[in-house]
Symmetry: C2
Subunit: 195 residues, 2 copies
């Protein structure tokens, strides 16, 4: 199929408008009251267009949340694994405690429990790549001798992210930067780093 | 008010029947399709009776889940903090990955995000007392010299429970006993225990 440059541009514009509309509606009405119909009306696209690209409103909001998360939590490598993990986790905590992203993600996590396709999408598009990225950054620190070679890196990722999810789903106050710093220090210590 | 022994017995019987009915319906229909009406019909009590004791179906299921969790995760003290934490966390993991308890709790966690009263009840009736119990058990280990006096016990509790919630809400396979043992060992090491 041949696609003209202008139709490609229009597609990206529609995609962006759809994601923005979904996030706006989530802020205004709460996740539960957002509909594909309302997203389409706000974005100025047809429902058919939305369903061509996404299977559900949850999928639209997942893409919007994932883009924001990827932007907010880069895996930087300054050569200091503790500092880089603090930067990364602080970015995730901030996004998850900011509207519309936090409430949108809470809605996605709820819907996952009765939408198997959405559950698979969350794991494949969001969680899987982020865990891989975190493990890769930790492996870099291993190669630089900052973490022992025998360390269980996937467990470390769960120990870092677990408390963030724990507070998010229980609607407890999000971690402040001092708590994140302490968490990161504890996780690195648990791996035998810096000893 | 004077209450006769037989009416007290009847109340406890009704309470138990209500909790059991709610759990059964959760297994059969899924959390979202359970109604107070159906719970009342199954339990053989009136809707009015249910609403006298609980504000919502979420509150009924919270009480049922909390009772099961308290039964499944005692804070034993054998004098070995690592063994006791393994026992405790394995109990929580098993319950949260068993129907109807796991799906019921997933439903409660979802509903918490748009029911402030339920959110407060989860924190006050379930999470708060369990965190206090865990901190008390860890303090006992401090007094026995198994954990340094300066250890951050609330952080330790979040590091233990965080990964359990993380897998539960993301619908990842629950931890097996070897993973729980490794998690407990890592958390204790992060506190400087046994060094």
């Amino acid at each position: 199929m041949i696609t003209s440059p202008s139709s490609l541009r229009r597609s990206e514009r529609s995609r962006r408008a759809t994601l923005d509309a979904a996030l706006e509606l989530c802020t205004e009405k709460g996740y539960g009251r957002v509909t594909v119909e309302a997203i389409a009306a706000r974005a100025g696209v047809s429902k058919k267009t939305i369903y061509r690209w996404w299977p559900s409103k949850g999928a639209v909001l997942l893409e919007a949340f994932t883009e924001a998360l990827v932007g907010a939590t880069p895996f930087v490598d300054t050569g200091d694994i503790a500092a880089d993990l603090r930067t990364h986790i602080n970015g995730a905590v901030r996004l998850m405690s900011t509207a519309p992203y936090g409430p949108a993600y809470a809605g996605i996590l709820s819907e996952m429990h009765h939408d198997d396709d959405l559950a698979a999408a969350v794991r494949d598009q969001l969680v899987g790549p982020r865990v891989e990225g975190a493990v890769a950054r930790l492996r870099g620190a291993q190669e630089q001798g900052q973490i022992p070679e025998t360390a269980d890196l996937p467990l470390a990722v769960e120990m870092l992210y677990g408390p963030v999810y724990y507070r998010h789903v229980l609607r407890k106050p999000a971690q402040d930067e001092a708590t994140v710093a302490s968490l990161v220090a504890h996780v690195l210590r648990s791996l035998g780093a810096g000893e």
